[in-house]
Amino acid sequence: MQVVIIGNSAAGLSGLEAFRKKDQSSSVTIVTREGEVPYSKVLLPYYLLGKIPYANLFTRDKNYYARLNAKCITGNVVKLLPEQQAVLLESGTLLPYDKLLIATGSSPVKPPIPGLSGKGIYHLWTLADVENLAPYYNKGKRVVVLGSGFVSLQGAWAALSRGLDVSVIELMDRIMPRVLDDHAAALLATRMIKSGVDLRINTFTREIERTGDEKLVLHFKNGKSLTSDFIIVGTGVRPNIEFTAGTGLKIDAGIVVNKQMETTLPGVYAAGDVAQVPSASGGDPVVHALWPTAIETGSIAGTAMASGNSRYRGSLNMNVTQMFDITVASMGEFMDIEGSESWTDENLPEDQYLKIVLKDGVPIGAICAGGSELISTLGMLRPLIREKVQLQGNPGMLKALLASNIAQHQQTFIKQ
């Protein structure tokens, strides 16, 4: 069997590793339009921050593919040819497949703001982006970050930590709309402003002007303007599916897949940011564009491609980050929705926050802001959310509940 995997990042490599656990003999070719040695996107802000050296961005060694008896080639896939069971590279090379895994991820989109392109205007998404950005990350430079999502704020935090002047521009009336609820967002915004970020919400950027001395001037709808050395654009992403045009492959918010990550084309699988996958809540399928989801779905696809048994239990969104001296995290359905009730830890100091959202006594999501210890609580809730287990008693006693249970089952712990 000939297997082709497009993408050598979280989903692609997880797919390869899971495939090889079941099938050691089939030939596997991985195609990437970036470098053959894989790097991790999650680490990019930490490199800009100066926390990790450049070399540590790369997460596999040179012998990795050889060890897994796989071949990695550089090339840009421009066309999927389902009748011929092959993919076409920009170079003209045709790669035939029996099984194909599409793990091409997503790419940032730019809002239609006049002047928003050219030197000094970048995304924070790929290694190439970070190579462009790194020379600007120097004390005294001014950066404007457009958008206040997770990645944007990480870029802003890295810049602030490196001594840059940082402005964050958000169209809506609050930051991190998809990752935090109002209260957690307010706590984070307060910390950002205290740390020295010029945060502007409800601000619509009208156009960007270039001055003679290589500066960029942002003009806002409210009549104000702001001069900057460079701009980071973080206003959303879309799946990398251009090469599937005209194939009949079913696409919604991402490539539509079933619980085995099979697409609507025979022998073709999709995983990671590019795929719209089943949700842990059992509701509508989702594109979570998260690292853990990419690892999980890649692994399900790899196993399925080797004819193994694997069914995805659904993606559970989970986000965590520490920035501006505060840790924020969220998981599952953390917004109050109809029919849900929520429990908030009243014992925490004012600048900390822990909320668990329940429906019919079953935890469906949680959110926290404050110290790292709160994240552990979210971690312990994860299995309960996944398994849809009723939480009886006070959710604040979660650790005690875990404790009493382990006490109950201590024999299992002691007698091995």
């Binding site: 991790s40 926390k51 853990p292 995290a329 552990s376 008693g393 404790a403 002691i414 091995q416």
Partner: protein, 153 residues
């Protein structure tokens, strides 16, 4: 491999293990630096020393986006390489037992590494609650244990 096992009926919450771990890690005695944590619940009169169970399929290892978490081939311990850890905290969110902690000074995650096969917490346990014992499958079934916990809530 050998694992640290915990008999919760023997623990007397002396916290020696926490201090021993902290000292091993940092050369100082700060409980918040310990990788083993003893939780005491006065109302139910339960004390529980919790430390990493070095799961067979460790989710922390699988999802670490920095490839900083590996299994030590000698001791079998799941270890965090603090040189590679970026401090993203994904592993803390991933651990279903709350056994990964954050080192606020070096801004990296940290957890039990079995002290190269001579766990200091066990050496200093005064009640015999902590043991370092050989077993085939130790906490291979810790997910099942957790599952049972779920079922028995």
């Amino acid at each position: 491999m050998r694992f640290i096992t915990m008999d919760v009926t023997k623990c007397v919450v002396c916290r020696n293990c926490e201090y021993a771990c902290s000292f091993q890690q940092t050369g100082d005695f700060r409980r918040e630096d310990s990788n083993i944590r003893v939780e005491y619940y006065d109302d139910v009169k339960i004390c529980l020393p919790l430390t990493c169970m070095h799961c067979d399929d460790s989710w922390c290892l699988e999802i670490c986006p920095a490839s900083a978490i590996t299994r030590n081939v000698k001791t079998g311990a799941i270890e965090i390489n603090s040189e590679r850890c970026a401090g993203c905290k994904m592993c803390i969110l991933a651990c279903p037992f709350g056994n990964i902690h954050f080192d606020k000074i070096n801004m990296v995650s940290r957890k039990c590494n079995l002290c190269e096969g001579e766990p200091n917490c066990v050496s200093f346990c005064i009640s015999g609650a902590l043991q370092y014992t050989e077993s085939k499958n130790s906490y291979q079934n810790n997910r099942q244990i957790f599952q049972r916990f779920i079922e028995n809530l």
